[in-house]
Symmetry: C2
């Protein structure tokens, strides 16, 4: 059974023909009737119904209708099409699709420019300068259902989202999937990691042609053959499923909503907006990092009010010892989280200026934590861990315990205990907690509305809700959250500034026992992919460069550089205290480096090759530089133009020595030296294979 082309022809005759793009050739399809769509494949015709530019007219967005009233958008940059016409819309379980029969109701363009202050962050002041295009469309065939597509267009990126008004004919939306696509115009190289499986945050990155991507987690980064860098992600993921970036064919990418074990991936009552689908678009990889305020800007302002209780800090802790198999999480003869051990760490922290001591394995339930147990208590300590005594001991010395809530993904067990756990922590002066969701037993274990247990994805709507519930509950107890095995970061730290960091990447512990360990290119991959989403608790600083029988393929200087390169307002000095005792001189940088910044600038870099970032301390005039390379030796000239003009700085340089390398003793070849520099100078960073360089620029008194 087929519809003839007559309706199609009619539709076309009603449209002013404005553009024909081969990109939608395979692609009018999902929207149009099977047959009609095919007939429109070779010569789709688009009518632009609304357009807007970015403030400096770098980017331009067209919203278009085609075929049977199919809605799409196109992005041009400096006059060149970079995203071919790409479908907009979504599929519902409880009503016909939002995919066609659209007509323009109203289009409106507005401009916005303000600057807001972060309580903590990569930079203190963030400018939010965009033009907004709101396009209200109506589906006449389906009871005049309305939908709005909103674009916010910056010079270095854009975000768009759907908004659904409450309307009697569609109050409740059960969203099965989105039809949103990104039809990339030029061939490209992609850096991506596989989405769609369990615990997929902690994986290595693939580098392939874009047309070998299967389904990727976001952020995903591409470099087009014309040299443009694009990062795909989302902002303000609230009460919705995360999306995965599925390649359909060619260079056509499509959002896929993470499934739910409850039913449709998203169930919402209108009115509501979806998260923002975002693209950062720049001429350089460094530009991507510098433009990443996009994600923050697309989030709502702080909803927590006074957040002076959220403290950036550095910490040490009972953690690396478990990864070296020296201690255990569970109680026993090698239990790590004992009162004595913790107090030793508190002494070490106090002596070296670290505010926090993380203790994993302090609470009951670790005996079978990744098997069948899951019965973690979030309030009861093991008998050999005296929480009141330890916290008092620490506070006396100005050291705060960093709380730890490993859930094993058993949210059904955690949520009822969450408030009590936070209340107890607050009582003992613990003002930040690291959570954990090793959803090993079958996905996150959540209680459904019917009281039954369901096993679901960390990226699902129900888990998105849980992660935010965790953060907002913690806020009531003045506790900051560092989420491990997290939902991806979509900039909610702007709205909830107590969501300080995430361990949502393949971190340092893989250097202890990973097979393979993290390759030397890993950190330079992270900077231009995952870190574009926000802070990253990577737990750097293993100056001993030694895992379980596995040497770590890094120089000491690179370990220091990571404190500047990888941003997090909480940073761990992850090595054992006795190891730091062996290397007091490089350790000095770890003690000196701040964690809260007035400004951050990526100076250079390529994904998986190298990255150089400088940051200015928020509480002094000092600047810090971190640079890392991959397995290749590399020399980089760095003009110091970021420094205050006319001012003199004492550069404390921690660099790879002449014989440095990523194996054996060469890893420990570090040169520590001082130079006096000004903004007019250029430094040459020479990094060994697996190497890096860290510099502290101490501002000298103005003359």
């Amino acid at each position: 059974m087929h519809t003839g082309p007559s309706l199609l022809a009619l539709a076309f005759s009603l449209l002013a023909v404005t553009a024909a793009s081969p990109a939608l050739a395979q692609d009018a399809a999902p929207a149009a009737a099977a047959d009609v769509s095919q007939s429109s494949q070779a010569a789709p015709k688009y009518q632009t119904i609304a357009s807007a530019d970015s403030p400096d007219k770098v980017l331009h967005v067209d919203v278009m209708l085609s075929g049977d009233g199919n809605l799409s958008y196109q992005v041009t940059r400096n006059g060149q099409v970079i995203v071919n016409p790409s479908p907009l819309g979504l599929i519902l379980a409880n009503a016909p699709k939002f995919d066609r029969y659209f007509a323009l109701d109203k289009a409106e363009t507005t401009s916005h420019d303000d600057t807001w202050e972060q309580p903590w962050g990569e930079r203190r002041y963030v400018r939010n300068h965009y033009n907004e295009l709101r396009v209200d469309v109506v589906q006449k065939t389906w009871d005049d259902r309305k939908m709005t597509v909103v674009f916010r267009i910056y010079d270095d990126g854009l975000g768009f989202r759907y908004e659904f008004p409450d309307q009697p004919q569609l109050h409740k939306l059960e969203i099965m999937d989105e039809l949103t696509e990104f039809a990339i115009a030029d061939p490209a190289t992609a850096w991506w990691d596989v989405a769609g499986e369990w615990n997929r945050e902690e994986y290595l990155y693939n580098k392939t042609p874009l047309n070998e991507v299967s389904e990727a987690q976001t952020p995903m980064t591409i470099r087009t053959d014309k040299g443009l860098y694009i990062s795909f992600h989302e902002a303000a993921l609230v009460d919705y499923a995360a999306y995965w970036l599925r390649r359909v064919d060619g260079q056509r990418l499509k959002t896929r909503l993470a499934p739910s074990a409850m039913g449709a991936p998203v169930v919402r009552d209108a009115p509501f907006p979806t998260p923002w689908r975002t693209m950062e678009i720049t001429d350089s990889a460094a530009g991507l990092y510098n433009s990443s305020d996009l994600i923050l800007n697309l989030n709502e302002p702080n909803k927590l009010g006074d957040v002076s209780w959220v403290k950036p800090y550095k910490y040490v802790g009972i953690w690396w010892g478990m990864h070296l198999n020296k201690w255990t999480w569970e109680a026993g003869p090698r239990h790590g989280a004992t009162t004595k051990n913790t107090e030793d760490y508190i002494d070490f922290a106090a002596k070296n200026g670290f505010r926090g001591v993380l203790v994993e394995g302090w609470n009951k339930g670790w005996e079978d934590w990744f098997g069948k147990g899951w019965n973690f208590s979030f309030t009861e300590s093991y008998p050999d861990f005296d929480l009141p005594a330890i916290s008092a001991y620490g506070l006396k010395k100005g050291v705060h315990l960093v709380g730890h809530n490993e859930t094993s993904g058993n949210v059904a067990n955690y949520e009822p205990q969450m408030a009590a756990g936070f209340a107890q922590y607050e009582k003992y002066g613990v003002d930040s907690v690291k959570t954990g969701y090793v959803a090993d037993a079958g996905g996150a274990r959540v209680k459904a509305a019917d009281g039954e247990i369901r096993y679901t994805w960390n990226d699902s709507q129900e888990m998105v809700r849980h992660y935010l519930l965790n953060v907002t509950t913690a806020a009531k107890y003045h506790i900051a959250i560092d989420t491990h095995e997290p939902i991806k970061d979509t900039g909610l730290r702007r709205t909830y500034p107590n969501w300080v960091s995430r361990e949502g990447q393949r971190g340092m512990e893989y250097n202890a026992w990973g097979d393979p360990q993290n390759p030397p290119e890993h950190e330079a991959n992270l900077v231009f992919t995952r870190m574009l989403s926000g802070p990253m608790d990577f737990t750097p600083g293993i100056l001993s460069l030694q895992g379980q029988g596995k040497p770590i393929p890094s120089t000491q200087a690179k370990q220091l550089a990571l404190y500047v390169v990888l941003y997090s307002p909480i940073q761990m000095a992850a090595d054992l205290p006795e190891n730091y005792a062996k290397y007091p001189k490089p350790f000095q940088f770890i003690k000196d480096v701040p964690v809260d910044w007035d400004q951050s600038i990526a100076l250079n870099g390529e994904p998986g090759d190298f990255a150089t970032i400088v940051r200015k301390d928020r509480h002094s005039d000092n600047w810090y530089l971190g640079s890392v390379t991959d397995e290749n030796e590399r020399s980089l000239d760095v003009p110091l133009t970021f420094l205050e003009p006319g001012r003199t700085y004492k550069a404390q340089i921690y660099r790879d020595g002449p014989n440095a390398g990523m194996t054996g003793d060469a890893r420990f070849d570090i040169v520590i030296e001082e130079k006096t520099v000004t903004a007019g100078d250029t430094l040459t960073l020479r990094m060994a294979p697996g190497g890096g360089e860290a510099i502290r620029f101490v501002a000298q008194k103005k003359k």
Copy 2:
């Protein structure tokens, strides 16, 4: 939070180390704890717990445990690994995953060899010769849950499935996804079409390297760089979601279950088996076609008993006229399905020996059929269509109406009317019905258990149920079903022989108005992809070679060849009667060619290039040959060894003329000639660009 490597080490120490394959390097992952799995990436160790060979020891399957009791399988062919160790298991919404903690309970190997007779088909007798390996495993960690994996291993392919016994700790399974993978050992080229969208059956095929596949419908065909051909598909898809073949990364393919608008993709009470996951594995493309009994063999025998009422036939009908925009489906001045028009078609059918006349647009509801209407009646005719009179008129001449049920995907509207529609048809001598599911308005529209309407995928469990309900209901009224916009064919025609065909590919109508039309390579793609799943109602035979202002890029000889190349027990002579009147000589082949076969053999071919198939009539000693090429001229030597030795045949040859081609008048350059041949002869087929050749070998009396 991380588990150390100690548990992993323990697991390894319990296993006899038997194999290490880089294929699972990215891949122990989905099963194991995030960290543990990473640590096992580089050196996975597999313990083979059960093995079996195919009858002639061509294929060999190992079932293995690794890591934390992860289950996987490996396939070797003549001693070479062709599928690296690949995970087995599935993810549940209502219980922990079936992904690890497996231990062997029992393994058993049995042999099977029988031959069964088809009521109709590509061949009369089908041999079913395999070795079966049953592996019962138990998950001790999860209450001793049991699962069985069953492999049936043929010399030219294999199938495997999961079986779930009823057990108190897991009576109801809500299956979110399967973990089943196919980690292909060698680089390969893939012929595939995109899955996961709406109405995706009617699309052109991509030909790309295997590592550019995103998510494909099955059957999908690959050719490895070592020259092996593999077709991936499934058999016996009953009360389960169809699977899509998603590439994870590299050459690693994974099943993904089609989503459901009801909840988990599959909800079943144990005991039950899953469909068979199948691979045909041969040295040639032709071999794939010749081995495709695998799919039938993995289905249950006929459950309908006497099916002598299921008649293979050829038909004409009121169809192409709509695609030429000469007639309309809906009533009106150009209504196609009028009494007069139908009686003319009956006259034409009777005169030319066609049993069937299809009439589309006979029933009420077509006015808005792909918009909001969907209110098709399946019993009420338009006033200008007198069903009782027409059917009586036809039966008097030995011609049966072919019924037509277009549902527009509105299953909720169709199911309550289905039986009444079939009963009426049976009353009027209609013994076959073509259905249609242009699920244009938002997916198939089905009624959920709660009475609410849901919009869902044709590949979903609920639609799999519907399609079979349609067929089994029809059987009660002795009606055969030809499904358009179908669920994929998984061989259920063996079990329900009234499921005679499907229009589940991009058919001839795209040559009427498609943009692009079907390219000349299309049919040679179909033979080695979609047609491996079963009969295909392609509606060939457009001797006029003319669509709506669009010449069809085919020679006349190719149109004839399609009747042999593309198998269906019901075949349409799709052109207008007045067009056949213009070309009586080539039309003769369409009148002569049978539709039911004693034997079928693919002689040669390459996907998307060419294909030659010979078939022996089931009701005579005559053979038929069809050969098609793509846009390239081609000469093929065909030894006639398939003919009965020592017997003489009159070969009635319909071949491309010396000036034939795929444009203009060249398309009509056909040579019709006769030769006398024996099995010892070799014919050279010379096909023009867009050409083909059809031969009828009339067996002469034995001397």
